[in-house]
């Protein structure tokens, strides 16, 4: 989320165009971007395909986080199992236990727990990364109150403080793409 502290001259209001169909908002977003209007964000009741491209958003980096977390889980599990089952040094030992003469470090027998802990770390970790990065937590409020955007309306919010903002042009673009309502909104905090 970008900060708006660097736009002092702007009134603390954002221009919102509401649409009732998903294809309208995709077309309107595309047109707004081509017209050079600064899009703060789009708000939709469900993920609209193609909107991220229209808005020019990059691919999510969460996949890399997930891989690193899976690797962490895998290595932790390898350490846990190797240390507790097989490591014996004068200073720092697990407790190698002879069970029926089976090998102390049978890699195949470790596979299930290696896999499970890799998945556990990756799944829980990625979900927490998502919530932390998007700053979603109990007590958090949405930035704007945009009626209907979690139900049946799609909204484009324009950043009035950013360069390139032109109210008349914005109203014209929104109107051309079938906006059902155009209004101003102030952020919630």
């Amino acid at each position: 989320m970008s900060s708006h502290a660097d736009a002092p001259a702007a009134p603390d209001k954002y221009l919102v165009g509401y649409f009732v169909e998903d294809d309208e908002i995709v077309a309107a977003t595309k047109a707004s971007r081509q017209a050079g209007l600064p899009i703060y964000d789009c708000y939709t009741p469900f993920p609209v395909h193609g909107l991220e491209a229209a808005q020019g958003l990059p691919r999510s980096w969460m996949t890399y986080a997930c891989f690193l977390l899976a690797l962490t889980g895998f290595l932790s599990s390898m350490f846990l199992q190797s240390y507790t089952q097989a490591i014996e040094t004068p200073m720092w030992s697990g407790w190698p236990l002879n069970v029926g003469g089976k090998p102390f470090w049978p890699l195949t027998a470790f596979v299930p727990v290696l896999f499970e802990l890799a998945v556990l770390f990756a799944g829980v970790g990625t979900a927490l990364t998502l919530l932390a990065f998007l700053r979603l937590y109990p007590g958090q409020k949405p930035k704007f109150t945009l009626p209907g955007t979690t139900d049946d309306r799609f909204a484009i919010v324009l950043d009035t403080g950013a360069s390139g903002f032109d109210e008349n042009k914005a109203r014209e673009v929104f109107g051309r793409h079938g906006a059902s309502e155009i209004s101003w909104v102030a952020p919630n905090r």
Binding site: D22, D23, V26, A27, D41, C42, Y43, T44, P45, F46, P47, V48, H49, G50, L51, E52, A53, A54, Q55, L57, R59, S60, C66, A70, T84, Q85, S93, W95, L97, V99, A109, F110, P112, V113, F115, E116, L117, V119, L120, A122, G123, T126, A127, L130, L131, F133, L134, R135, L136, Y137, P138, G139, Q140, K141, P142, L146, T149, T150, D151, D152
Partner: protein, 481 residues
């Protein structure tokens, strides 16, 4: 994928309702007081739960000597129920994760409730290993990999029982995370409609300030897909590991390499049957028959027939290998399983799981809700008996004829099983009251799928997303569905 206004593909949502209508339909049961039917059902299931709690309490007080187990048959109802309930859970993950990765859009109406079912089933399952220790307050601690009161002695990671502990706890955790992440947008919808301040406060906290911002959706959908990708091998691993509890032993009838795939297929088979049982009731009671359509039920019936034949193949392969191995003990165990004193349980299993699902070859049968409902119960009975057959008939006549024994479960075991059904159904009933039982955002995103009218203006577009005029970014999977 075919053209959108296909004559072959049926719409996934009937009647092409408006977006707001979908929200209203799904949330109506949450925003009105429960019906008399709901209360009546809940009273029944809650009393089952109460009976089960009494049984568990008595068994904890008196000891597991109250069960019908003996020296020969050391595992009976306890582990049968455990494997049964874990298997039930598998369909939820299959629907939410595997069908997601395979782009099966029909899953969207049923995934939420199937995932809820997974969680409740895994809770029921986890109860049994816990109580079968007799003194769970010791037993549970022994599984945790930490130096314990017996000196710096660690758990034995070469034991399948430890694998099982890790598999089940990971499975529960990841299923819960996947479920909750999926719920966040819908919880925000509930929050924005809430009128009562307490209700609003609760759902505000639960929805974590979700706003539907597209910058959030982009990451959200990637994480959702990653969780699906993680859950898919996870669900296969869980029943594989459960099967190694048996397969790594040297008991004839258990010591077979076919167990992992056989158990996974059986788990999906029984899980889908349980999903059908629940959804057939839910769609009727909640008036959501246009969201969970006959097509959904039909698809699940086809999966049941396919997996039913897989387990059928496994039953026959086991017999063949028992003979082909030339091992007298294997051969005896299998002949005894089908024709011994407990042969009746084998034939219940075989007829419920292999013969009866063949009825779904007929379209009339798999589109008739009464037939489907009866079949879903039959399959669940069959799959419970499958685990019973594997566990009890393999144990009751072992190498030494002098130690042969029979197993007769006691009232404590029956009522504990009843109690888990009570827990499962009560939890599901409460779930339909307090959380959106259908993934609202996901259903909205597939609303236009194969709807004849919605696509006339741009008929050549991709059917799935309902986003005309824009090609999918090649890297973007079909998200949100």
């Amino acid at each position: 994928m075919s053209a959108p206004a296909s004559h072959l593909r049926q719409p996934l949502v009937l009647g092409n309702p408006a977006y707001a209508q979908i929200t209203n339909d799904v949330l109506k049961p949450m925003e009105t007081l429960p019906s008399k039917l709901w209360w009546a059902t809940f009273a029944v299931t809650a009393s089952w739960l109460a009976i089960g709690l009494v049984a568990i309490g008595w068994q904890q007080y008196e000891g597991i000597g109250t069960w019908g187990l003996n020296k020969t048959i050391g595992w009976g109802f306890d582990i049968t129920n455990f494997v049964f309930w874990v298997g039930i859970g598998h369909a939820g993950t299959l629907i939410s994760a595997i069908l997601f990765l395979f782009r099966q859009k029909w899953r969207t109406s049923i995934n939420r409730s199937a995932e809820a079912m997974t969680l409740f089933a895994v809770i029921c399952a986890a109860l049994f290993p816990l109580i079968h220790m007799g003194r769970p307050w010791f037993g549970a601690l022994w599984f945790i990999p930490a130096p314990n009161l017996r000196g710096p002695l660690w758990t034995n990671f070469r034991s399948p029982l430890i694998w099982d502990f890790f598999a089940i706890s990971t499975y529960f955790t990841i299923s819960a995370v996947f479920w909750y992440i999926g719920l966040i947008p819908d919880l925000a919808t509930v929050r924005d409609r809430a009128k009562h301040p307490i209700r609003k406060a609760i759902y505000s906290a639960l929805s974590l300030g979700w706003s539907g911002a597209n910058k959030h959706w982009v990451h959200y959908e990637t994480v959702y897909m990653l969780l699906a990708g993680l859950s898919t091998p996870l669900v296969l691993s869980v029943h594989t590991i459960v099967s190694t509890d048996f397969a790594t032993s040297v008991i004839p009838g258990w010591h077979t390499t076919i167990f992992p795939p056989y158990f996974v297929a059986g788990a999906i088979f029984s899980g889908f049957a349980m999903v059908l049982t629940l959804l057939l009731i839910a769609r009727k009671v909640m008036n959501i028959e246009h969201l969970i359509t006959i097509k959904h039920l039909e698809n699940m019936c086809l999966i049941i027939t396919a997996t039913g034949m897989m387990v059928g193949l496994a039953y026959m392969t086991e017999f063949f290998i028992a003979w082909y191995s030339g091992s007298n003990y294997e051969g005896f165990t299998f002949v005894n399983r089908a024709f011994g004193p407990m042969g009746w349980s084998y034939w219940i299993m075989f007829s419920c799981n292999v013969i009866s699902p063949q009825v779904f070859w007929f379209k009339k049968a798999r589109t008739n809700v009464v037939v489907i409902f009866v079949m879903s119960i039959v399959v669940n009975i069959g799959m419970w008996f499958e685990r019973f057959v594997i566990i009890v008939t393999s144990l009751h006549r072992d190498y030494l004829p002098s130690s042969w024994a029979m197993y007769s479960p006691t009232w404590v075991e029956f009522t504990t099983l009843l109690g888990t059904f009570g827990l499962f159904f009560s939890a599901f009933l409460v779930f339909t009251r307090v959380l959106p039982a259908i993934a609202i955002a996901e259903v909205k995103s597939i609303k236009k799928f194969a709807q004849p009218k919605a696509h006339t203006a741009h008929g050549d577009d991709h059917a799935a997303g309902g986003v005309p005029g824009l090609a999918h970014a090649p890297a973007a999977p079909e998200k949100g569905v």
